[in-house]
Symmetry: C2
Subunit: 352 residues, 2 copies
Amino acid sequence: MAAAGMKSKGLRVSESGRTVTKARATLSDVAALAGVSVGTASKALSGTGRMRPETRQRVLDAVQTLDFRPNQQAQSLQTGRSWTVGLMTTDGIGRFSIPVLLGAEDALGAGKISVLLCDTRGDLIREQHHLRNLMDRRVDGIIVTGRRTDPRPPLGGVHDGVPVVYALSPSTDSGDISVVSDDVQGCRLAVDHLLATGHTRIAHVTGPAHHAAATDRARITEQFLADASLRLVTGKPHFGDWSEAWGRRVAEMVLRMAPDTDAFFCGNDQIARGVTDTLRERGVPVPEQVAVIGYDNWDTMTLAARPPLTTIDSNLTEIGRVAALRLLEAIDDNPAPGVHRVPCRLVIRDSA
Amino acid sequence: MAAAGMKSKGLRVSESGRTVTKARATLSDVAALAGVSVGTASKALSGTGRMRPETRQRVLDAVQTLDFRPNQQAQSLQTGRSWTVGLMTTDGIGRFSIPVLLGAEDALGAGKISVLLCDTRGDLIREQHHLRNLMDRRVDGIIVTGRRTDPRPPLGGVHDGVPVVYALSPSTDSGDISVVSDDVQGCRLAVDHLLATGHTRIAHVTGPAHHAAATDRARITEQFLADASLRLVTGKPHFGDWSEAWGRRVAEMVLRMAPDTDAFFCGNDQIARGVTDTLRERGVPVPEQVAVIGYDNWDTMTLAARPPLTTIDSNLTEIGRVAALRLLEAIDDNPAPGVHRVPCRLVIRDSA
DNA sequence: CAACTATGCGCAAACGTTTTTCAAGCCGGA
DNA sequence: TCCGGCTTGAAAAACGTTTGCGCATAGTTG
C-alpha cells in the first residue's frame, strides 16, 4: 500500500519516519492503489462505463489519498479539446478591452476553460504569428477584441475548425459571430432622458469623424431628435477628438453659437468632463441651466467631474460575457452567426 | 506519394478534380512523405541526431509541402514543458497590472511562451482554484501581480517545482523572487528636481496611510528633505485617498496652513491634478509660484491636467519585463531570489 | 441444468511527439 | 578475408490519458 506511487518518478521525501511521496500521482498510481486497471479508474472518474458502486468508491478514495489530479495535456492530446481559448486583443490592452476580457474570463472560468492572452498591438504580422501559435496549442476557440468599434476584417490565415467570436469591433463578414454594444439603444437612453427632463436645445459633441463610434452616435442622435421634431441646437454634431481639452474648447464654441443651449450629449466621458469644466468656469449651473450626458461610464472621469457625470454605460463586461457564451455555443457546434447587440444602461448622477 | 497524409483523419476536400487534404498533418505524414521513420523526422526537425544532410532536407521539404506544425500538446506531454506561464493578478486587472502584464507578455512572447491569464479578484479561494488549474496545465512558471505595492503572503497551496515571481507587490517571504518599483529612487528624482529648481517649502500629499505606497513615499521624502536640512512645509505628510477630490481639498488646507508653500509633491497623478485645479481656481500660477509633481505618469491625468503634469513614471512595463526575465531564469533552474527594484523615471512637463 | 442476457472490469490501441536502443551498411586497416 | 569503428536511420518505449472490445462471472429464464 505504501508502495503505491512507486512508478511515479517524483522525489520521495522521508520525514519523521514516514515516507511521503511528493510529486504528482498519475492515474496508474490511483488504479494500483484502488486495485483496478487504469481504464477502470478513468471510467470511474469520468462517470462513463458501468461498475459496482463499491469499485467506483475505491477509486475515488484513492484519488483523495493520493491527491490525484489528471494531467491536462494527456487529456487534451487524447480528446482533442484543450479547454483553452485564445483572447486576441488587437489594439493593445486598454481601457476598453479590459472589461471585455474580464467578462470573458469570468464566463469561461466557470466552465473550467482558461484564457490565453495575445496582444497584437495592431500589427498584422503579430496577429498571424499569434494565430498560428493558438492553432498549434489547439485552442478550442478564439475571441478577438479591439478598442475601436469600427468593423474589422476577419482573422486572416487558417483557423480550420476553430470558431472565432469578435467582441466590441465586429467582423466585416456578416457570416462571422460578433458581439457589440447597442449604440442605437444607448443613444436612445440619453436622448429620451434629456427630452423627458424638458431639454430641447441639445448639442452633440463627440470624437473624430473617422471613428464609427463618433459618426454612428451622431447620426443616431440626430435621428431621434428628428423623431421628436427637433434638431441639434447648433445644426450639426461637432467632431473633434476624445479629449477633455476638446470638450472644453467645443463647449465655448457651442455657447457662442447657441447661448440658449440647454443640454450637451457627449460622445465620451472625457469630452463631457471638459464640457462641465468650461460650464463651471463660466458660472453656468449644471444641471440646472445646462445638462450634460457622457458616454462609457468611465469612473475615473464620471466621479471626478464636477458635478459627477450622468452617462451611458456600454456594459463592456457583459459584452465579454456574451462573447464567451456565444463562443461556447460555437464550440459545441451550435454557432449563432451575425451581430449580437448588448444593451446599454443609463447611469444617472448629478450632471443631467 | 499523393497518399501521404492518408493516416491523418482530417476531412479530405475534393475540389476542381484535385484532392486536397485539409486538416493538420502529423509528423508521421511528414515522415511518410520524406520516406523516413517518425523518429528520424523528429530528429531532423529538432536538429539533434546525426543524419545525411540530404535526408534532413527531404524531411524539411516534406514539412514545407504539408505545412506541418508540431502538436504542442504531444510535445509538452513528452517533454514536460508546456511553454506556458500563468499570470495571476490578484486585485482585478486594472491600471497598474495592465502595463506589467504587457511587459511580461512581450518578454515571454519573444521566447515562444504564452500567457495564461487568471484573475483572482482578491479572493483567496479563487486564487487557490486558479493555482490548481495552472498546475494541472503544467505551466512552466507563474507571475503574481497585484495593484497595491504592499507585500503579500506567498502563494498558498503547492506549486511543486514551478517557480513563482511576484511583480509589483512583493512576497513577504524574502526567499521568493519579487520585482518592484524603486520608490526610494523615485522619490529622490522628485525631491532632487524640486530642490534643484529652487523650491524649499515643499508639501507632501498622498493616499491612505494604510497603503505602503503612501507611507513609504512619505517617509522617504521626509528623509531626503532632512538630508538637505529641510522639513515638510506643513510639518507632516497629508494622508487621504488617491482621488482628485482629496487633492483639491488638501491643497486648500495646505495653502491655509502654509501660504508660502512653493511646491506640492503628490502621491499620485490624480491627487496632483486635484491640486492643480485648486491652484488654478485660486489664481496661483503653476509652476511659477507653486510647482506640482505627481506620481505614476498616468497619461489620462497628466495630459488632461492644466498645466500638464510633471510626474514620476514607475516603469510598470519594465517591471513586467524584468519579472518575466527573472521567471525565465528560474525556469532554467537559475533563480535569483530577493527583491529586485526597477528604477523610475522623471517625466518633465509643465507643472514643475 | 443448459442457454441466455446483463453486468463489471481488464486489455490494448490510440493521441502525436521525443528519445533511447540497436541493427545494418560502409569504410579502412590488419 | 575478417574485424572494429563510424555513420545512418529504423524500431520501440515512453509521456498519461480515453475508449472500444471482449471475456469472465453472476443472475435470469426455459
